[in-house]
Point group: C2
Chain length 424, copies 2
């Protein structure tokens, strides 16, 4: 419904619509349905006992601080612990380069507010993370997608796109990347490509957002250095988060940037929420400094690696020959490409009838292409659900292929008004 005050809305607000995924995910709340749709961690991966130990100790020893307002920059101990951890991975920063944010989503919002005027351009992957495009669009920015292959974004295609845009007088301000185990495609940008992309960003004077929520979750292959660690002139803003390696419920993430830029982001954050919840920050800080994080990441990795392998094996066994998919070395997602004549959004009601859910791929493309693709999450469902769900999905795809060959029209999906669960 349209609010009776909508005539007073800002230009930004008028353009903002409820996310399509939000509507789709509503359908997956039925408990019969096995959902590969949301990007949720496995609750088994939450270190409940460690959190309990930490919280009780903090409430005994530091209750005056952990329950009070904190500074906008974030809890100093936490910022120092993060800086130390990042430096072990090749960065060269201090806590003054670290801003704590309410999830990486808030960092995407703050960066957008800092750089984007209406009509400004952002270069994204095709496909790319929806939360990113939502943040950029909320400031009326324009997205341009660059296709990915199994090695992530192709620098040549990026350079060609930028050259073309420049010829038309356009100067994109931000390049948005998820270099490790990309959401949704699962692919990782190679080291060589990272260097080339940075060079191109320099040439075209763009800020690079390196969104890296999954970098600790590598199950196979060699670690690739972060783009921030290759950054010589401070144009990379790195985003990390505790959502996937501790728990999402704390909403504690971090943003690493050149100091003067970080100060600006801090001022922008102050007007947005004063500070990130202090309670969660202190918990995260203890979790890192006591060495629990490193210990627990190993547990999560084993859990998720097994799930990935299970899902890939089930797909190999049950999916029709027409389907192709990525084999991610980490992260949370597998990306499926079906024959051109299949529209995964139109196939969705059939999947729901078969009690299985996914996210249709077009949602991740700035230009709504990729109609024959879909994203599967392998971290949330149980092993039994993964096997059963993939069989149901395989069945759904096979029925759709047969229908196409028989020229039957598929059902239309009609989302209703009220949405609930978010798509991460």
């Amino acid at each position: 419904m349209v609010s009776k005050f909508s005539h007073l809305y800002s230009r930004n607000a008028r353009e903002m619509k409820a996310s399509e995924i939000r509507e789709l995910l509503k359908l997956t709340e039925n408990h019969e349905i096995i959902s590969f749709a949301g990007g949720l961690p496995d609750p088994q991966a939450f270190p409940v006992d460690k959190v309990k130990e930490i919280v009780n100790r903090l409430l005994d020893e530091k209750n005056g601080q952990i329950l009070q307002y904190g500074t906008t920059e974030g809890v100093t101990e936490l910022r120092k612990a993060i800086a130390e951890r990042m430096n072990k991975r090749g960065m060269n920063i201090t806590h003054k380069n670290v801003l704590i944010t309410a999830g990486s989503q808030q960092a995407l919002d703050l960066i957008s507010k800092t750089f984007l005027d209406p009509g400004d351009m952002v270069i994204v992957g095709a496909p790319t993370y929806l939360g990113g495009t939502n943040a950029f669009k909320s400031y009326n920015a324009v997205m341009e997608g660059v296709p990915l292959d199994e090695d992530g974004m192709d620098p040549d295609l990026l350079a060609a796109k930028l050259h073309l845009l420049q010829m038309h007088g356009n100067h994109p301000e931000i390049l948005y990347l998820i270099p490790n185990f990309q959401n949704p495609a699962g692919v990782t940008i190679t080291e060589e490509r990272r260097r080339e992309i940075l060079e191109i960003a320099r040439e075209y004077d763009m800020i690079v957002i390196e969104d890296s929520p999954y970098s600790d979750l590598r199950y196979s292959g060699e670690q690739v250095p972060s783009m921030k660690s290759m950054d010589t002139d401070g144009r990379v803003i790195y985003l990390g988060t505790f959502s996937k390696i501790l728990a999402p419920g704390f909403r504690v993430a971090w943003c690493i940037a050149e100091k003067d830029l970080l100060n600006k982001l801090t001022i922008v954050k102050q007007a947005a929420d004063l500070c990130t919840n202090t309670f969660g920050q202190y918990i995260a800080s203890e979790y890192v400094t006591r060495g629990y994080l490193d210990e627990h990441v190993e547990v999560i990795k084993t859990l998720y690696m097994n799930k990935r392998d299970l899902m890939l094996a089930a797909m190999e066994k049950h999916f029709p020959a027409e389907a192709k998919w990525t084999k991610p070395d980490g992260g949370m997602f597998i990306w499926v490409t079906l024959p051109d004549y299949i529209d995964t959004k139109e196939m969705f009601p059939r999947a729901i009838e078969n009690n299985v859910a996914y996210v249709n791929g077009a949602a991740f493309f700035a230009d709504h292409s990729g109609k024959n693709t879909m994203r599967l999450n392998f971290t949330f469902a149980t092993p039994e659900q993964i096997d059963e769900g993939i069989q149901r999905l395989a069945e759904t795809i096979k029925q759709e292929i047969i229908d196409f060959k028989d020229e039957k029209p598929s059902k239309k999906f009609m989302p209703d008004e009220e949405g609930l669960v978010l798509g991460v």
Copy 2:
């Protein structure tokens, strides 16, 4: 320092500056200084044992939920508990009118983003809460102040201001009020004035923000109905928070609005941070539904009432005859007016020399008037500090008055670059 990427900044970001209060508060970190500056609750007012009991139970029984992502709207139990509580105070809402936000500051940001285009106008009190004006200004809005007296905003002055603005073709979109125990002035809008102000808002088609962080903290006088409870056409957005009645460290607050408008704010929030921290939301929910909140509010009220009385008595005893101040019936602040020839910002270095701090009043005026005023917080300092601090402040003011009469120039305050603690 200016970032080397500042040429890429958005118009919004270019205009945003570090808050002056932030710089001033840095000076108060010296432990010798008794600070009446920040708007912090007394850590004694934190219900540590209840939080501990709740957290342990939640970690045992609901860890899969409290550590997971939540919906953008917020935890349903919490929204229902808030709706019930608000309805006991004369509102007529359901949980579908309630959006959980990361502190009321986030609600101010979301409302600003929803309604304010660059150059749009907001009517505020003169003086008013800095966090409000920071949020509005971050979308390049223009503030117009309406003077307050001991009964809050004067409807006649408001009507006159709006009439004048209209004659010049201006249509302000938002009226921002803190009707109970205003920050910084400590005054409360009478019931009659609330009705008149609502009528005027209707006539000029403005959204009213009723920011009400202190409504549970009344120490004397009769409760006045909220403006939201008098709202017949849904134009009031009510903001409440757990920061002052549980603890600020959770960053859990709520925003009440007409349903279609609430849906829009939810979409805006989704792009900003996906959801408020689930952990803190579940704690707040248990705190309300177990009846702990009502119990504990009584403890806080007694604590703060005594501190208010102490501060008022000390001021009565030590302040020079030239000083006037408000006698608030609740909240956290006393507002002091000194003779016109005193500039409280210029007096500040002398106060710091005397080891006492306040916030200079001009910071709370959209037009930077009120140079002879200051805000004193009475909730954070201990009883001993209150008595000693008021004596120091009285001494400072007396010295300033003598210097004026002797025509000595006062020292200039020079804030340095890096700020830390926020001003609430």
